[in-house]
Symmetry: C2
Subunit: 341 residues, 2 copies
């Protein structure tokens, strides 16, 4: 066991676009667990746009990351030492371990994971990402077979699962993504009915051409100009699943002026609804079983963008916020444990 | 029976604030019904902000009023002559008779009303107005006892019923209205827990003072700056009922820049939902029975702002769009018929 705990701390509130200088790197001693606590070692660190949102000074659905604090992040960890009877060394847990090698956490903050191959699926399709797509599309969007479903950031982590889940339920699925490579992946590999490259041409016109009769459910991961274009394409009684606002998180350009809210909502009887997957935590097993089943049947494809080395976390997030990834991005902080079996 | 049919036509698309010169007045012959049609005489003409929305060139939930067409409006009419077996002279009907003395309509477009005293209640508490408040608050807002409910244009037609319905269901109800007279009416006569005069002081600060713990349900009749202030006061899992955008309908000032959509929706898991009462037409009897029962029990107060004379319709609408009315505004086009009983 190495004697140090590498950590990234939030050095300052980012202004506009995130920079490496917004982070401090520190090598600290490995902490020791107190009574009821567990020492864990980070295996995978999830890289999510939400990480950037937590850096704003205002609380979101959680307090902001404090200056000088370890950057918060969802992780898959291995238990190293436990002072709680429920956990023992070698256990795999899901937690908010943050951007560091080791985290001491209260036992109540850990959720046990079963070993599986690849273990990384607990970070992607079976993790927060896949469950966000699952509950967002099915519980918030309430998609029905035959409906037209639009997904933005469709080649991203949540978006690629969200679109495939809609396909599995008999919907016509359109994806919005940046660049021809992502668009090809959506239509040729994932089975999307169409993909629109938002970087090329007028988005509103291309949306109108792709879905002349309008959109029943729009799964929004980006906000901003794409949200605006989609809003005006909604059918009467359409639903917008408000999952994220990636396009306006990491910029100092003010978001475009939004038209049609709330006026168009009444005219077209639209429902806009935001959600956080953590609200569905009590039903996580249902989602995990469904998602794992679809993966096993080959009906849900999982693409992971795994970057080795904790030292790459800042650049990984900076890139992701501007579309560098295809599929679920995560950091492999340590090799997958060989398991106790 | 007079030989003429007084009519107001839409002369031009209003630019900014509605003017009398946007209307043409005409005296036309009384029309004759064809097979399957009914000749009706207007008794009450409802004056609604929606009338103004229908004057824009873009369709709303209905086609725009065409230039040179009779201004559209909900009416309570008496059947004068019928070429459909379901109707006979003296019947009372609800319809879209428009801004004129006489309308020939297809029999399928008429809904029979039972005689009642006062008949005007079919235009206010039992009409489109009361039913909008009923379905909006109960079916869209899904209010629960103990919740904090905020209503804008609370001294207006829909707002005054909406707030009272929330009180009847055990909610704490706050109203936003313009001027001390309206605010006094809300708290002293209608039993609102508090009223905020949006014309006096900083609305956001006063909202925060009135409901420091936030709002569960906001019933929005106005859009614009009031919508913005309310949005940031919403509790987690709050709901906004999008009923109207009166504050931005009759002006050439662009609406204020809207912040927090869609971002705040996810953070606070908010639901914004628009509706049109016509979607609930199949359940109208349920609403009418409930509303009539509350009125009979003295638990729902009805205030009507009845203006005599069709010639006053343009000014009545122009005033209403800027808050001139308290309660439900309508035009008495002809005296209430004495009835056939």
């Amino acid at each position: 066991m190495p004697a140090i705990n590498r950590q990234f701390l939030l050095a300052r509130r980012p202004e506009g676009r995130l920079r490496e200088s917004d982070f401090d790197y520190r090598e600290a001693p490995v902490p020791e667990p107190g009574p009821g606590e567990v020492l864990t070692r980070t295996v995978y660190l999830s890289i999510d746009p939400a990480n950037r949102a937590w850096m704003f000074p205002d609380p979101t659905y959680r307090p902001p990351i404090g200056l000088g604090e370890v950057v918060a992040g969802f992780t898959l960890n291995e238990v190293v030492d436990s002072r709680d009877a429920r956990f023992r060394p070698g256990d795999l847990v899901e937690c908010e371990g943050g951007w560091q090698d080791y985290a001491v956490l209260p036992a109540d903050a850990l959720h046990t994971l079963e070993p599986r191959k690849p273990l990384s699926h607990w970070m992607s399709v079976l993790g927060v990402t896949g469950k966000t797509a699952y509950f967002g599309m099915l519980e918030v969007g309430k998609i029905r077979a035959g409906e037209t479903v639009l997904v933005s950031a469709a080649a991203g982590a949540v978006g690629s699962f969200a679109g495939q889940i809609a396909k599995l339920h008999g919907c016509r699925v359109l994806g919005i993504a940046g660049g021809p490579e992502k668009c090809r992946w959506l239509t040729e590999e994932l089975g999307f009915d169409a993909a629109i490259d938002y970087q090329s041409g007028d988005l509103s016109e291309r949306l109108a051409a792709c879905c002349p009769e309008g959109v029943d459910v729009y799964f929004d991961n980006v906000g901003g100009a794409v949200f605006q274009a989609a809003l005006f394409r909604m059918k009467t009684h359409g639903r917008i699943v408000c999952c994220g606002v990636m396009s306006i998180l990491d910029t100092d350009t003010p978001p475009p002026r939004l038209l049609g809210v709330p006026g168009l909502l009444a005219i077209r009887r639209l429902r806009l609804e935001g959600f956080i997957v953590l609200d569905y935590y009590g039903r996580r097993r249902q989602a995990e079983q469904a998602l794992a089943g679809w993966v096993a049947e080959g009906r849900l494809k999982v693409r992971e963008d795994i970057i080795d080395g904790l030292q790459n976390a800042p650049r990984a997030l900076m890139g992701q916020l501007h579309g560098a990834n295809i599929g679920k991005r995560m950091i492999r902080v340590a090799p997958e444990p060989s398991g106790r079996e």
